[in-house]
């Protein structure tokens, strides 16, 4: 009897010792029909009963969202607005303008957007990034003819967006309640106040005189909004899930954290 126990113990020890090896570098065994059995390259937990997926996902669903009912209604409003107004307008825009003109429009507004990008890089004391964005502004405004072209990106100075929400986050301000803004989409308290600050800074600076002119010519505003939608690839329904609201909320929250950390 003792012998059996010893044998059993030895076997168990051996299996524990084996279980510790990663299988990534094990040689691929090809079956008689040529099948490589990819799952044999993985180390599974022995009982196949870990609940890591459930744990991660349930934790991820904890986003502070006290206004959820309101947010969901706005979310559905945005969805409809997008389908019935926004996207048809963007399609029309795409139909009537040649591709180079649309790129020019996008570049022009992106160049205006580099002003808050620069301000916020400075506020976060990111020296390198501020220099690069200054370089972009100088190049694109002069050689790029008021920003219609974007020679800076071609020269290795990619656009790096920074907004006041990110600046606040950089100094440790938490996101606060999740908010879905009408038409603008997912946001939170911090980023919404950031938007207001960026907007007023832009109209104060009045770069290239655009802010002043567009107060008399709302069509510039309209173009800017259409261009913004044109540049945004997100489509409602794209995540194809009855739980799209939750997924968008999680992705927004995490991507903002990522932008702030970077």
């Amino acid at each position: 009897m003792a012998k059996y126990l010893l044998l059993l113990a030895a076997l168990m020890c051996a299996s524990v010792a084996n279980a510790d090896n990663s299988k990534a570098h094990a040689p691929t065994v090809v079956g008689a029909d040529g099948f490589k059995e990819p799952l044999s390259k993985l180390k599974f937990n022995p009982g196949l009963d870990q609940r890591e997926f459930e744990r991660s996902s349930l934790t991820a669903l904890n986003v502070y969202d006290p206004l959820e009912s309101w947010n969901r209604r706005v979310y559905h409003f945005n969805y409809r607005f997008d389908q019935w107004v926004f996207l048809p307008v963007v399609d029309g825009y795409r139909y009537v303008t040649p591709s180079f003109l649309r790129t020019g429009v996008s570049n022009f507004f992106n160049n205006l957007g580099d002003v808050p990008n620069l301000l916020n890089s400075l506020l976060q004391l990111k020296g390198h990034r501020s220099l690069e964005t200054t370089g972009r502004l100088l190049l694109n405004t002069t050689i790029g003819v008021a920003g219609l072209w974007d020679p800076a990106t071609a020269m290795g100075l990619p656009r790096q967006s920074e907004d006041f929400g990110q600046t606040l986050g950089f100094y440790g301000v938490p996101g606060g309640a999740y908010l879905v803004l009408p038409i603008l989409g997912p946001s939170n308290l911090r980023d919404t106040s950031g938007l207001v600050v960026d907007y007023s800074a832009e109209s104060q600076i009045n770069f290239l005189n655009v802010s002043e002119v567009s107060s008399n010519h709302p069509e510039i505003w309209a173009l800017r909004v259409v261009d913004k939608r044109y540049q945004t690839s997100f489509r409602y329904g794209q995540l194809n899930s009855p739980f799209e609201y939750e997924k968008v909320r999680y992705i927004y929250t995490e991507s903002r954290k990522l932008q702030i950390a970077e």
Partner: protein, 432 residues
């Protein structure tokens, strides 16, 4: 003498049939750079090895909706308003051309990235292209599925066939020369059943059908996928969940890179950086996306059929109602749970009982073995390291399809579809 001749003929034909071997692509000459099946599945082909494709602006395409199940307008809750009609996408040539139907994989909508890629590929080669959602997709289940319990492939194929007929009717003036059919992953299995259905219903007379990475035994496939979230992942502990682990890696990757740049090469580049994921982590990631599909399917099916497993049948839902508690419940249900709790009971009730084995036989490629064996118009492309296959599945494909099967040595699950070599082979199949 005559008898020996007959014998010889028999022997000859036996040898001939045995010599109709699958086309095995040699790994050295294939040139696909990703030897890791999980990496290939996630990152797919590096951008410079993909075929050159037209941009969206150059494609004459639009989305249409079909009202397949008018009663759902009233029986579905308010916040399902967007999926009460089925949307599909059609890209039209400006002349008479052959039309190809593309069916998406598990839980994917008509505009999934692989479907978009295939559309561009075939559109460029001069086909009209129709992109369809998978019968397991949320929108298809609510707008076009009679039982809203996908998994019984035969029934799914019938739903799909009706959708295809409706698409044809809605575009009656489009000059079409021939009909073709293709699908990837679960969509390939659906395509095989749709093709079988077409042999008797004859609405399309598909000239050729191409199955890309189909599951052979559906039960093996879902078991494999369910198992992927059971890998032992290093770095997970009481304070760090799996998502946090991946996000932290991503953050560090972007910090080292200096800026955020989302493009086609991102995943490939990421895997070549210091922060790359291990096999177990990648498997977990793949398993996670499938678990979310399983949750969507389980929830939608339960809601539409009012089974009361996840959501109480009379629970009032408006646009403002939080669905998070139900997501939490649905997340606990993997494919196996969906199968045992929802598919099998319904199937038993409708077909006077039957065992799991019988169900698996009916819904997998096994059910079509004779048809597939004798139909020269159907071909398969598969990978030797696909995670949805089990031992013996490739053997079944070899026996069934003979030289109409192409086995690529690498690519994981659908990771090499956008490799130039595969793209050429796909176009060549339909052209020839």
């Amino acid at each position: 003498m005559l008898r020996s001749l007959r014998c010889a003929a028999l022997l000859g034909s036996l040898f001939l049939s045995a010599s109709a071997l699958a086309v095995d692509i040699d790994q050295a000459s294939y040139g696909f750079p990703l030897t890791n099946p999980f990496e290939a599945t996630i990152a797919t082909t590096p951008p410079d090895l993909r075929p050159s494709l037209p941009s969206d602006d150059e494609i004459n395409q639009s989305d249409y909706t079909l009202n397949m199940r008018p009663e759902r307008e009233f029986s579905l809750p308010d916040n399902f308003w967007a999926v009460k009609k089925l949307t599909y996408r059609i890209a039209k040539q400006d002349r008479a051309a052959p039309l190809i139907f593309l069916i998406s994989g598990t839980g994917a909508r008509f505009d999934s990235s692989i479907n978009e890629y295939l559309k561009k590929l075939y559109y460029q080669a001069g086909y009209h292209v129709v992109q369809l959602s998978s019968p397991t997709s949320f929108d298809f289940m609510s707008a076009a599925s009679r039982f809203a319990t996908p998994g019984i492939t035969q029934e799914d194929a019938e739903d799909m066939y009706r959708v295809m007929q409706a698409v044809r009717a809605q575009n009656a003036s489009l000059p079409v020369t021939d009909f073709y059919l293709s699908g990837y992953s679960l969509g390939a299995l659906d395509a095989a059943f749709v093709s079988k259905l077409d042999e008797t219903r004859r609405s399309f007379n598909f000239k050729k059908v191409l199955l890309l990475n189909p599951p052979v035994n559906l039960y093996t496939s879902i078991t494999n996928l369910d198992k992927l979230v059971q890998t032992e992942v290093k770095g997970i502990n009481n304070t760090t969940t799996f998502y946090e682990l991946v996000l932290n890696k991503l953050t560090r990757y972007f910090q080292q890179k200096g800026y955020i740049d989302l493009n086609d090469a991102l995943l490939y580049d990421f895997q070549n950086s210091k922060q790359h994921l291990t096999n177990e982590q990648m498997a977990m990631l793949i398993g996670t996306t499938f678990r979310f599909s399983a949750a969507d399917i389980a929830f939608t099916s339960d809601l539409i059929n009012r089974r009361g497993l996840i959501i109480p049948p009379k629970y009032p839902i408006t646009e403002g109602t939080s669905l998070t508690p139900f997501l939490k419940r649905a997340l606990q249900c993997d494919f196996d749970c969906y199968l045992t709790e929802q598919v099998i009971p319904m199937w038993r009730a409708r077909s006077d009982g039957g065992s799991l084995l019988q169900l698996v036989d009916q819904v997998s490629l096994y059910a079509l073995k004779d048809y597939l064996h004798t139909s020269p118009k159907i071909a398969v492309m598969h990978n030797a390291d696909d995670v949805i296959l089990g031992p013996g599945d490739l053997g079944f494909l070899r026996q069934t399809f003979g030289d109409r099967l192409t086995v690529y040595p690498l690519g994981g699950h659908c990771g090499n579809l956008n490799y130039r070599v595969n793209a050429d082979a796909m176009l060549e199949f339909f052209r020839g």
